[in-house]
Subunit: 68 residues, 2 copies
DNA sequence: ATTAATTGTAACATATATATTGCAAAATTC
DNA sequence: GAATTTTGCAATATATATGTTACAATTAAT
């Protein structure tokens, strides 16, 4: 579950801890999401988006791999 | 957790059952998501997007309510 | 080089997303 | 309007997202 959370977070100069607090989630959750090891909930994705001023597509969109 | 899944699904003429099968999930899950009673997983959101040819922002984006 | 701050990760607990089955209500079709 | 399809929903079960705590590894600051 790759994404661009880490880049966006660093762009606005937040640590995982600070982002987590802003959202109201634990740092571990942020860490695991950034590492692509979690499949986050839509609500959490939205909260992350709001906190870093990005949209869902900007942070979480993944082009569908072609199926032939 | 409002969204535009139902509209998109009807646009391409699928029943909940058909969409569910296309995605590999149960009809109940689709039903609850359309009703806004579920907070789906990012992976599931993406799979729905792929199945109805929409992006995350198109189906699931919710403008942040202004806080003050 | 040490210290402090940040991040990765593991084990276990809890909350909740999703599955399963079944049936009732609505909507479509004939 | 009866039959069929589609959808809503309830109860229970299972899988997994997230929390909690703690510590190691890495990076930044002094």
């Amino acid at each position: 579950m790759e994404n661009k959370v880490k880049v966006a977070r660093i762009q606005i100069n937040l640590t995982q801890q600070q982002l987590a607090e802003k959202i109201g989630v634990t740092r571990q959750t942020i860490s695991l999401i950034e590492k692509g090891k979690y499949n986050p909930t839509l609500k959490l994705c939205l909260d992350i988006c709001y906190s870093v001023n990005k949209t869902l597509d900007e942070l979480f969109w993944i082009e569908k791999e072609r199926e032939e």
